[in-house]
């Protein structure tokens, strides 16, 4: 497929891929330094420079005018960034207000200039490609130049990894160690300007910020490691850029900028849902698994207490198998539906803890009996602790222990055992067990 492309397209592809890498890397630090909006203001602020340079060079040849336009973008973008910093430091204005003012004023001025250009020269329509990006319109010379610049930005960001990490995490420590915090912030700003200028032709000044923020924000859903974040973000940036470039080359009139940004947004959507660290789907699955685990423990406890109430527990331990426990009785104890209960039991059966019997009963296996007694023991140790040490009422203790027992760690257990001097394997319950034999007798008929 690669070889089937025209030479020019291949070169463009290479250039934009480097651009995506640069944006992805820089974006991570921009996000961690909470400067994403500064990037937005800077990229919008390039417009008046672009428009002025365009008017200025309208009569000259294309190659020359391009370098002047890029220069104009750099100057006016830097000016915008500095205005934000100046407004914040000198004037007494909040950062968000400063950003909003600079962004809109600069962009407004740019739009006005573009309109003037259309009136005067009538050919300002060529400006569109700097606003929305049109990679296919790039000449191979400018592509090589842009690719080299993007590669340079990648190298700068990578070689300053340690300094930028410190700046983003703890600027107070950075200052006390003598790092020039203001200089590093300025450098970050200069890099944003550079990446904006580099991306002007391929992505356009309106959407370059999305290419900086989106991959970085996406990468946070996959990892808690900064090094991995950088790799993932760079990859998302590179892939969206390459994909966007290819698509816009194949499909007529498809602007590369918008395509690239849409691909990056797609990556964000996928990360948001399926990201292994923070993705909502995984979070949901994790919570569900946790709830199932807890319910399995509850089930074992209820079964054990059922046997205890009917004084069948010692016998069960001796026989290495319990008498059948009706599911209906267990479901009533915890407001479970029979269907959900059966699903829980199936899971427990597959891990060899219970055996599902005929006519809606379960039997605990030897392993199940041991586990169940352990669960009951933890629950009661906690209850006793709350009653004796926290002066909780027995009923209250039951509910709180019900919740807390799942968070018990070995060290907590050791402490509880020490405090309560609990030698017996199964301490008695501090409150009467609800599941008394008459009640279960009563409930027997409805499961025939």
């Amino acid at each position: 497929m690669f070889l089937g492309l025209e030479y020019n397209t291949r070169v463009v592809l290479l250039g934009t891929t480097f651009l995506g890498c640069a944006c992805g890397l820089l974006g991570v630090y921009l996000l961690l330094r909470r400067r994403a909006l500064l990037g937005d203001a800077i990229s919008h602020a390039t417009l008046p420079g672009v428009a002025l340079a365009f008017l200025w060079t309208a009569a000259q040849d294309a190659e020359k005018s391009l370098s002047v336009i890029l220069m104009g973008a750099a100057v006016s973008g830097t000016l915008g960034g500095l205005t934000v910093l100046a407004l914040r430091h000198a004037g007494k204005i909040r950062e968000d207000a400063a950003l909003g003012i600079v962004l809109s004023v600069f962009f407004g001025a740019g739009v006005a200039l573009v309109k003037i250009g259309q009136h005067v020269g009538g050919q300002a329509s060529g400006l569109d490609r700097f606003i929305y990006g049109r990679a296919a319109a790039m000449t191979s010379e400018s592509v090589w130049l842009n690719g080299a610049a993007a590669l340079f930005i990648v190298l700068v960001v990578l070689s300053l990894g340690k300094e930028l990490k410190l700046l983003c995490f703890d600027q107070q420590l950075a200052r006390s160690q003598g790092w020039p915090v203001v200089l590093l912030d300025l450098l970050l700003m200069v890099l944003v300007v550079a990446v904006t200028v580099v991306g002007l032709q391929a992505v356009g000044l309106l959407m370059i910020i999305a290419l900086q923020v989106t991959p970085a924000a996406s990468s946070r859903f996959w990892t808690h490691k900064l090094s991995l974040m950088l790799i993932i973000s760079a990859m998302i940036g590179a892939i969206s850029c390459a994909g966007g470039t290819l698509l816009s080359a194949e499909v007529d009139k498809l602007p590369s900028g918008a395509t690239i940004v849409l691909l990056a947004c797609g990556a964000f959507a996928i990360s948001f849902v399926f990201g292994t660290e923070r993705g909502v789907w995984w979070q949901f699955a994790r919570q569900r698994r946790l709830r199932h685990q807890q319910d399995q423990q509850h089930l074992l406890r209820v079964a054990c207490e059922y046997l205890e109430c009917r004084s069948e527990l010692p016998e069960a331990i001796e026989n290495r198998s319990s008498s059948p426990v009706p599911l209906g009785d267990l479901a009533k104890q915890r407001d479970w539906s029979l269907a959900y209960l059966r699903r829980l039991c199936k899971r427990l059966q597959s891990s060899g803890v219970v055996v599902l019997g005929a006519d809606r009963t379960i039997q605990l296996t030897p392993r199940g009996l041991t586990l169940a007694r352990q669960v009951v023991r933890y629950h009661r140790l906690l209850e006793h602790y709350m009653v004796t040490s926290a002066e909780a009422l027995a009923g209250q203790a039951d509910r709180e222990a019900d919740y807390l027992e799942h968070g018990l760690l070995p060290e907590h257990l050791a402490e509880l055992e020490g405090l309560l001097d609990a030698q017996s394997l199964l301490p008695p319950s501090p409150h009467p067990l609800k599941l008394t034999p008459p009640l279960s007798e009563e409930s027997l008929p409805d499961k025939i």
């Binding site: 961690l32 007494k92 995490f169 703890d170 420590l173 006390s176 160690q177 003598g178 808690h224 900064l226």
Partner: protein, 265 residues
């Protein structure tokens, strides 16, 4: 002879000398004419009510807030010429603990100052960091994400980071704030250990009950210096009354009026 030389001769190699320091945030005075000297090897409590300027004093020492007037010397020199001998531990809440970093990453940041531009962390730094983690009894947390730490573990991480800086003067901003009992004990043990090594430790502290137990030197501050000296002499009912019995309200009001007149926000 310039005034700087006089001051240098006068202070010798004392870990910390503060002379007539005044700090204001936008005309609102926070510290007024504070002067004090801290002798070597002391465990110093910096105590005063909220808004007394304790944190500001620490920040003024490490040049993080501009001072209107006054001089500060650490081991006889300006801070910027002597950075490596000072380790500053900011308040725990001053950073974002959701930052993508492990405990080891954070502790390694303590070595960045020594490393300088572009240099990478190597085996030597890593060993120093693990050693510091061991001293704070959190080596088992080295690979843990900092977002998973309890308050006490966060504070231990910060202190381990300060330890790898191998400084002679430690400035700690409220290390005891909202930590569990065992962490508090570990911090005290650490401070005593540092003291045995002839290090000087200045600690912003809130709990008056523990002052005589923890510190052998005390600075009482309430915008102005109330008293400074060995705890036994300074920790008196009278001094505490002076420190906590109402702030310098008149000065504060005048400062506020100035600020408004000059158009501050």
């Amino acid at each position: 002879m310039s005034s700087e030389n006089v001051l240098e001769n006068f202070s010798g190699e004392l870990p910390l000398v503060v002379r007539d320091v005044t700090v204001a945030y936008q005309r609102k005075p926070v510290l007024w004419n504070v002067s004090l000297e801290i002798p070597t090897g002391k465990l110093v409590g910096l105590v005063g009510p909220n808004g007394a300027g304790k944190s500001t004093l620490l920040k003024a020492i490490v040049d993080m807030v501009p001072r209107i007037s006054g001089e500060i010397r650490v081991f006889g020199k300006a801070f910027r010429r002597n950075r490596k001998r000072i380790a500053y531990v900011p308040q725990r809440e001053s950073v974002d603990w959701d930052f993508p970093a492990t405990v080891l990453d954070v502790v390694l940041m303590g070595t960045y100052g020594e490393l300088g531009w572009f240099a990478r962390v190597g085996a030597k730094q890593r060993m120093a960091a693990m050693d510091a983690l061991r001293r704070m009894e959190i080596e088992h947390l080295a690979a843990r994400q900092i977002s998973q730490l309890s308050g006490g573990q966060q504070q231990r991480t910060f202190l381990a980071r300060a330890l790898v800086q191998t400084a002679d003067l430690y400035l700690m901003d409220e290390p005891f704030a909202a930590v569990d009992a065992s962490t508090e004990k570990a911090i005290v043990t650490l401070m005593r250990e540092l003291q045995r090594l002839e290090k000087t430790i200045v600690v912003v502290h809130h709990d008056l009950h523990t002052v005589p137990e923890y510190f052998d030197y005390l600075v009482l501050l309430n915008m102005r210096l109330v008293a400074a000296g060995p705890t036994k002499q300074v920790f008196t009912q009278k001094n505490l009354q002076k420190t906590y019995g109402g702030k310098l309200t008149l000065l504060e009001e005048i400062g506020e009026a100035m600020r408004l007149r000059e158009g501050g926000v």
